[in-house]
């Protein structure tokens, strides 16, 4: 595997400051493009969901870089001209832009998965039917046996209705699965039914997807690996046993422990490391080495993610799973 995007004869790229090149040309030149290629590749390694089926090939890397440039270069160039002050700041700002773009790409792949899940349920559950071709809203979906008109409007009441559905169960999955599942089939049916009832109209799949990603935002949340100290090198698995491995080795039969292990497996290494500090904002900030607002944001974000992954089944079960997740991650932190 290549370590970064290496254009042919890369050594011939003139040793010019990227900041100077940008201001002299008014656009990206060889030096800026080479730096961008390197950063795109470093950051792409952090998103396993973006890995091509056959692994990264040189053509894949160049295609990814070209997509980024075609999509964002206009805004990135303006941003750097307005904001960067030297080579280091060009690098920092560029990395931020690239990382965010890759997150968006990872979220797009998850959107397709959500759509397929919903279509599967809509097609095979007798509670729902497609609007026939000769009726208004043909091709949309509605509750079976109804003759409602096409729905339109703000999604907020529908999202609220989706949240109000009790006993959402999150199925178990393995660490080999790249994407967390939305919910189990019965839960999905119940939520679709609640949404269509509240809409009192037929809906397109895309409209349902919009409501579902608002209700289950964790479904779009990509797994992000930490950037290695030697950025650009191949990321390897930790030599330490993961919290999931620790718990599986114990052959624990308790349901809560098993569910917790599956949840822990979905969390990124950074998220696992944050869990022991969730109730200590100051310590979390020190652990992350970031500002107060970012620490607060990471805390809120992780709590929301855990809440979604645990589901809203019976309260005792949720509490047990939550406690077990904290215990597993705290243990893992102590073993490091």
């Amino acid at each position: 595997m290549l370590l970064d995007i290496r254009f042919a004869h890369q050594g011939e790229v003139p040793a010019i400051s990227v900041f100077d090149e940008l201001h002299e040309l008014g656009c990206f030149g060889p030096a800026c493009l080479t730096l961008t290629g390197k950063l795109v590749w470093q950051e792409a390694l952090r998103f396993p969901v973006l890995n091509p089926p056959a692994g990264w090939q040189k053509a894949d890397e160049e295609d990814l870089l070209y997509e980024f440039l075609a999509d964002r270069l206009q805004a990135v160039t303006a941003n750097l001209l307005a904001l960067a002050t030297d080579d280091d700041s060009v690098g920092r700002l560029l990395r931020t832009s690239i990382r965010r773009w890759l997150i968006d790409q990872a979220r797009k792949t998850a959107l397709g998965s959500v759509r397929r899940s919903l279509e599967e349920v809509l097609t095979h559950c007798s509670a729902f039917e497609a609007v026939p071709p000769d009726e208004a809203g043909a091709g949309r979906w509605r509750l079976s046996g109804t003759t409602v008109q096409p729905w339109s409007g703000p999604p907020d009441p529908l999202v609220d209705a989706a949240y109000a559905v009790p006993n959402i169960k999150i199925p178990k999955w393995t660490s080999e699965t790249r994407r967390a599942p939305l919910a189990d089939r019965k839960s999905l049916e119940a939520v679709i039914r609640a949404v269509l009832s509240t809409a009192a109209g037929s809906m397109e799949v895309a409209q349902l997807v919009e409501v579902f990603i608002a209700r289950f935002p964790v479904a779009l949340d990509p797994r992000v690996l930490p950037l290695p100290d030697d950025a650009g090198s191949q990321i390897t698995a930790s030599a330490h046993a993961s919290p999931e491995e620790i718990v599986l080795a114990r052959d624990d039969e308790a349901g809560a422990a098993s569910a917790a292990a599956h949840i822990v497996a979905v969390l990124s290494p950074q998220e696992r490391g944050m869990i022991p500090y969730l109730e200590s904002p100051g310590e979390l900030q020190a652990h992350l080495g970031c500002g107060r607002s970012q620490a607060y944001h990471h805390r809120t974000r992780l709590k929301e993610k855990l809440q979604q992954l645990v589901g809203n089944e019976d309260g005792d079960q949720v509490r047990s799973v939550g406690s077990e997740v904290i215990r597993l991650c705290s243990e893992a932190a102590q073993t490091r």
């Binding site: 008014g26 965010r100 107060r292």
Partner: protein
């Protein structure tokens, strides 16, 4: 393949996406003139920077030493329910820009570095209205931002990062200012329990009786020793300087103006000190020069600074 080894299709694409001329050095000078003559006005978009943190800010109001401003982002894209999104055709950026009105803040003037754009009143009106929690009036090419529904959305992280960046800018060290009717405290009272006389004597390379005079405010502290005390005690140079000899407000206002920024940046680089130390050095130097000279009337601190700096032109080098 180009001579540089970079595939031609990448270079062609980059050329098609050339940045706006208005943001180039020449374009900025055409629009705003010499940076040393820059005046800070409402509606301007400035690059604010301290250390490694750079943020674009739209100025809503100008005070004596600070501005009321809202952060603006170009990339990555992002918005929230309090923001307004401005079409690229209405700014020098040529692409959409988000004004995060919910993050309105007082930003010290000393972190403003370069004016990069000036926006029409209707856009500023929208931003100001949202900053005050009011609905934005209609304006061409301006729309309200969309709500962030979940902390898991990437825009939530962008917003949190901006809030931290603004906090960092707000805490950029300033200069000690004379406060009317309030005598400065002594260094001894500032240090309190932190006072370690032996360490202080060692750091200042001065005998104990002399250090005691400094602590009690009986002897003036040379400006070049402020940094040594800051290092030895862990307090900021600004806190220490305030106990010894605060500076006139007019001088501080002049010296913290962005027109002098490039001088302090350049001095810091030459002397391998921080920008804050370079500014402190310049301010006490100009102050001492003024104290030695006689004459009535209000001091022209910009002239004093130029005199102290040996006629150094603030437009040379720097940002």
């Amino acid at each position: 393949m180009s001579d540089s080894g970079v595939p031609q299709r990448f270079l062609d694409l980059a050329r098609q996406m050339r940045g706006p001329h208005a943001l180039s050095e020449a374009g900025l000078k055409e629009r705003f003139g010499d940076p040393a003559q820059a005046e800070i006005k409402s509606g301007q978009v400035w690059r604010a920077r301290w250390d490694e943190v750079s943020v674009l800010v739209l100025i809503l109001e100008v005070e004596a030493r600070e501005v009321n401003a809202v952060p603006v982002t170009i990339d990555p894209p992002g918005e929230d329910e309090t923001s307004v999104v401005v079409d690229g055709a209405r700014t020098a950026f040529g692409v959409e820009a988000t004004v995060w009105a919910g993050l309105v803040s007082c930003v010290p003037m000393r972190v403003l570095e370069r004016v990069v754009d000036a926006w029409d009143e209707d856009i500023v009106g929208c931003a100001a209205a949202r900053a005050q929690g009011r609905p934005a009036p209609a304006a061409a090419g301006v729309r309200q931002g969309q709500m962030i529904r979940s902390a898991l959305e990437p825009d939530a992280e962008t917003r949190a990062g901006l809030a931290d960046d603004l906090e960092h800018l707000q805490h950029a060290p300033g200069l000690p200012v004379q406060e009317s009717g309030r005598p400065p405290g002594t260094l001894a009272s500032l240090l309190g329990d932190r006072l370690d006389l032996r360490t202080l004597c060692s750091a200042l390379e001065m005998p104990q009786p002399e250090v005691m005079k400094l602590l009690r405010g009986k002897a003036p502290l040379p400006a070049d020793r402020i940094g040594a005390i800051a290092s030895a005690t862990g307090l900021s140079a600004e806190q220490i300087a305030r106990t010894v000899r605060p500076l006139p407000a007019d001088l501080v206002q002049a010296i913290e103006h962005p027109r002098w920024r490039s001088v302090w940046v350049r001095r810091a680089r030459q002397l391998e000190i921080s920008e804050a130390q370079a500014r402190l050095w310049g301010s006490y130097g100009a102050f001492a020069l003024a104290a030695r000279e006689t004459g009535g009337g209000a001091a022209d601190w910009d002239a004093r600074l130029r005199q102290f700096l040996g006629g150094e032109d603030p437009t040379k080098g720097g940002a």
